[in-house]
């Protein structure tokens, strides 16, 4: 890194840095433009020139989105589904990752290979049979139905196993010898040791579920049961050609995940890098 620093001073280094920053600003511009447009009154939104700041900033689009659409219900649905999927997935994956890493039982290697193999399977190919399954269980248009096919993220088990692997097996055996219960060892020793990973994985699992489109879109037909990710695309007619209203709904839908990222930037990037199989 020191060499790169020295290079920062030369002319081309400066040019490259300037280009990078310019590209970053340009890259984020559509986001800025979307947010700014959502704060403009209708007549300003459609002005035929570029206005980087609203002349009369207004929240009327947001008030409209909040009062005339079912965005409140969609929010609740999204929160329930995302939190539910996160808790169930992270918890069951942790248990499984711990078992594969620290315990010896028949079929352990087979299970591990099964998990690794499922990494390759495209879940979007399973939509037909997920639909049949959820329909047969009578769970279409329910929270449970939206959650069920999303409860599997093999990668979370893989990451947990990698982390538990760093603890020698003797450690667990010694604790068990000391009369600690098997579950006590997991919950009182191994889990607290890995809070960082658990938080990081939970945040990204929440973001993934919040952002899921295809399955929530297929499994829900009743407007009030939609998640916000699906809901904001299904009510265009209700908005007519009021672009600013659509955009304000989009801002409301993106806000929780954007905030989660901005607050936990380090953890999110760490978990996403880990999920690609790279140790951060």
């Amino acid at each position: 890194m020191t060499v790169l620093t020295a290079r920062n001073w030369n002319f081309w280094g400066g040019i490259i840095t300037a280009l990078t920053v310019a590209a970053a600003v340009l890259w984020a511009f559509p986001l800025y433009w979307g947010v700014i447009s959502s704060l403009k009154p209708d007549d300003e939104v459609v002005r035929p020139y570029i206005e980087l700041w609203p002349e009369t900033p207004t929240l009327e689009n947001y008030i409209h989105a909040l009062t005339t659409t079912q965005i409140g219900a969609w929010y609740v649905n999204s929160v329930v589904v995302a939190v539910g999927v996160t808790i169930i997935t992270v918890f069951s994956s942790m248990l499984c990752g711990y078992a594969i890493s620290q315990l010896r039982f028949p079929g352990r290697l087979g299970l591990w290979w099964l998990i690794l193999a499922s990494f390759m399977v495209p879940t979007s190919a399973l939509i037909i049979n997920h639909f049949v399954l959820v329909a047969n269980l009578g769970l279409l248009n329910t929270w449970a139905g939206i959650m069920l096919p999303q409860l599997i993220h093999p990668v979370i088990i893989i990451v947990y196993k990698q982390f538990f692997d760093q603890v020698p097996r003797d450690f667990r055996e010694a604790a068990v010898m000391d009369n600690a219960s098997e579950f006590g060892v997991l919950f009182k020793i191994y889990m607290p040791m890995n809070w960082g990973v658990t938080t990081a994985l939970s945040i990204v699992c929440f973001i993934w579920t919040w952002n899921a489109f295809l399955w929530p879109f297929l499994s829900v037909t009743r407007t009030e049961m939609m998640t916000i990710t699906v809901g904001i695309t299904q009510v265009n007619d209700a908005f007519g050609v009021y672009y600013a209203r659509e955009l304000s709904a989009a801002v409301l839908a993106g806000l929780p995940v954007a905030l989660a990222y901005l607050i936990f930037q380090r953890r999110v990037t760490e978990a996403i890098t880990l999920s690609a199989g790279i140790k951060g």
Partner: protein, 294 residues
């Protein structure tokens, strides 16, 4: 000792039970069912007669399937190759920056990746809006004729590919940054002692050492983009969905719009096999062997 290992097995079974139950229910069972109904003429819900490989033979002669295959391939080509190059260039630029400044610049590139596809759709639908979109104002300033990109046959997929690159590049950038960080600084120091030019340094050091990450990024992108649906569907609404057909859209179309579960499953199996073959062919296998448990 024997009792100990028996308790250990029992505990292990209890611990893996929740995962295994979910896994069998929403993964193994649907996969088996998908293969089974692809050989029947079943509707979406309900049983059908066994028809052997008829559904697959029909795919070969089905122009819409051919279009889906062609479009998916075209889309994959337009996202994976430029997406990887752009992400690598951005990562090289960002890796020069330091501390908070680096985090801030990275956040600008990364933020789109964190957003739901429908938000990305609404933002770009607005940015590229034929009448009022800010991009069209820019085209006007440049003296280029406006294009109704999402209604145009030639421009639809390239535009959706562009939006997709914008949306997903953050992920690849992150991986490239991790790869760049893993290259020891000493190597660069040695290179600069030898008065290597910036280009030589990149070609002889950065590029070869970054190669494992590059192939990882390409594989992940390839598999991701083969499964493209959301953006194509959203941008197609009110446009020409049949012209913009891709694999998953075709599964959706057959199963949910035409109520032909069996024929849809044949497409799903094809996609399934394709993705598995790609994963295996690429160095996915390599990664698996690295992950063998102790």
């Amino acid at each position: 000792m024997l009792r100990n290992s028996r308790t250990e097995i029992l505990v292990a079974l209890v611990l893996i039970a929740p995962f295994l139950a979910i896994y069998l229910l929403v993964f193994v069972y649907p996969t088996a069912q998908m293969f089974r109904i692809s050989f029947t003429d079943a509707p979406l819900i309900g049983e059908g007669k066994w028809v052997g490989v008829a559904n697959y033979l029909r795919l070969l002669k089905d122009p819409m399937f051919r279009r889906a295959a062609w479009n998916t391939g075209y889309f994959v080509l337009m996202t994976v190759v430029p997406g990887t190059i752009i992400a690598m260039l951005i990562a090289l630029g960002v890796s020069r920056l330091k501390g908070r400044f680096q985090s801030a610049v990275l956040a600008l590139f990364f933020l789109p990746y964190i957003l739901p596809v429908s938000v990305v759709y609404l933002i770009w639908d607005w940015t590229l809006n034929f009448q009022f979109g800010v991009a069209m104002h820019v085209l006007d300033l440049l003296g280029v004729a406006r294009v109704p990109v999402f209604k145009s046959r030639e421009w639809f997929l390239p535009t959706v590919a562009l939006v997709t690159i914008w949306w997903t590049a953050g992920f690849s950038i992150l991986l490239f940054l991790a790869g760049l960080r893993a290259i020891p600084a000493e190597i660069y120091e040695a290179a600069s002692l030898d008065n290597a030019t910036r280009w030589t340094t990149f070609r002889r050091i950065t590029w070869p050492l970054l190669w494992p990450i590059t192939s990882l990024v390409v594989t992940i992108q390839l598999i991701l983009q083969l499964k493209i649906f959301d953006q194509v569907y959203l941008f197609s609404v009110g446009g020409r969905p049949n012209e913009n057909m891709v694999f998953v859209y075709y599964i959706f179309h057959r199963a949910f719009e035409q109520n032909q579960g069996g024929r849809a499953a044949a497409v799903a199996v094809t996609l399934f096999v394709l993705v598995v073959v790609v994963s295996v062919l690429q160095f996915q296998l390599l990664r698996l062997t690295e992950r063998r448990p102790r």
